[in-house]
Symmetry: C2
Subunit: 317 residues, 2 copies
């Protein structure tokens, strides 16, 4: 396996990136395309087969041995992307099988957060850890759970939906159609909604100014000491900390990794989230569980995570 | 392994039971002692070594090969019972090591609910299942989680504390010292509290009559159609169903097994809990997860579960 390369492919709503990843987690080459260029998955299958081979040929002595894919609503067991809300592909797309047939090499697929968790274990800050949670804080909240050194897929391959734990029954309407999911509070979108509610005196219907604020703006305001922005981060951390305490009671991790721009927002999230988590933890878990910033480089994490699906399998066999 | 026997030992607050269990899950012999007879663990270690050997000698052709123990606050990794609230043993008791030294045979230990989950997988209704939750409804609420055919112990061996997920922040005071834990609502104790609250018009401080009602009484009243008792079971099922929906989002099980007297309370819990769980489930999990009554015989479940700790390891090796 010394000179093998695995293609890691990240399928996002805006762009698709592919890179060749070495056993040590180096990305030797990469490519990027707009997602809208692929109205049908077949076009992507054909392009990946050609482009990954081209990239591999740039590195003499290396062989491209397989492809890992991270995609929204990706199902590991079936190798499918199922009803992905951010893609124009409809229904259930058997992408892993199509890529295996086209390339003649193994192809594994899962969702972005699961891929990220494996990436953290193989190439990030969770090396040598067997039990941890990996949480992505972006537009939504995704999670991957590693127990006993293995990713938890569950019976149907969709385990790890911590973002859709209901933390406030009857609360904010979520994209999934239900109300009060964790990700409606603890994500960039949730932070913005909380900030607007604070500005409007708690009335969620009548959002006051500023209308088009971003999570980054709120972060900057908080760093300048604006009370409302600091309050929004405080509420974010309280809701996240309490939800993590419940997740700890179920899975008992060694560490919890937070990934994404918000996670690294200086001291605005991690220390506060830790404080609220500890206050809600069952005594037997107190002062045992770390909350850490992901050790994966933000721009390359998706490719590394996707490739680690195949690297993880190669290392086991 | 055809003629091996494993001792299953159940350590409870009232009594300690030990039985020899065959590979097929038959209990060939068993013994029972009052827990108060063992103010020091050493006395139990000595007795078990003698009694299990005696029982084994009653069955010619069989060999006693190891001991599995289910105990409150049992830790699998360390083989310890740690600060068990219902036992007079103080601090951390390295019981598995003591039994191994005395008997010269392997000894494994975990908590009651984890042992029950393994028992369900080896000898009960979860045969051939790889992903399920096992929930004990007794004085409290315990849980064991099986993912990918393996029990989830977590980093420190205490995973699976679903009873201590906080479902109502600031709610009922729990034995763990925090407020609003699931088991303060969904257990025999919780059912009684709910019933009393209903009788006192919702004021938890001023419990009305009847003071000394048991969960069994409430069950009988519900079967007679008493509105308050039916209401108490309805609230029980709603809280449990919503908590299970959140646990499903994290672990994606094939089935959820309920164990204990309350679980088999005719149609008062399972169908209603299923209804409330479905109403709270993320769409991708709807109509996929069964809620079933445990297939373990109630009186023998603890011994079978404890023995399955060792049988599970023998079958893997």
């Amino acid at each position: 396996m010394g000179h093998s390369l695995v293609a890691g492919v990240d399928i996002g709503g805006t762009c698709i990136r592919a890179g060749l990843v070495s056993e040590q987690g180096e990305i030797l080459s990469s490519r990027e395309w707009p997602t809208r260029d692929f109205p049908e998955p077949e076009k992507l299958v054909n392009l990946l087969a050609i482009e990954c081979q081209k990239m591999a040929e740039e590195h003499s002595g290396y062989t491209w041995v397989g492809t890992g894919i991270g995609a929204p609503n990706g199902n590991f067991f079936r190798g499918t992307i199922e009803f992905a809300p951010n893609l124009s592909w409809k229904g259930i797309v058997p992408l892993a099988e199509q890529i295996e047939q086209k390339t003649g090499k193994t192809c594994l697929l899962t969702n972005d957060a699961n891929a990220g968790a494996l990436g953290e274990m193989l190439f990030g800050a969770a090396k040598n850890m067997h039990d941890f949670l990996f949480i992505t804080l972006g537009t939504g909240l995704g999670s991957g759970i590693v127990c006993g050194g293995r990713l938890v897929y569950g019976h149907d391959g969709f385990a790890g939906e911590l973002g859709h734990v209901i933390v406030n029954p009857g609360g904010r309407l979520c994209g999934c159609g239900r109300k009060g999911c964790l990700e409606t509070y603890c994500s960039a979108t949730g932070l913005i909604m909380t900030y607007r509610e604070i500005h409007s005196g708690g009335k969620p219907e009548s959002f006051g100014k500023p209308q088009n604020i971003t999570a980054k703006h709120i972060y900057e305001l908080a760093m300048q000491g604006e009370a409302e922005a600091l309050n929004a981060f405080e509420q974010f951390s309280k809701t996240l900390g309490e939800a993590l305490a419940n997740a700890v009671a179920i899975t008992s991790p060694e560490s919890i990794f937070l990934f994404g721009g918000l996670a690294s927002a200086d001291d605005l999230i991690i220390p506060k989230t830790k404080k609220y988590m500890e206050a809600s933890l069952l005594p037997i878990f107190q002062n045992k569980v770390q909350i850490l910033c992901s050790g994966l480089p933000e721009n390359d994490a998706a490719i590394l995570g996707a490739a680690s699906l195949v690297w993880n399998q190669l290392k086991k066999s």
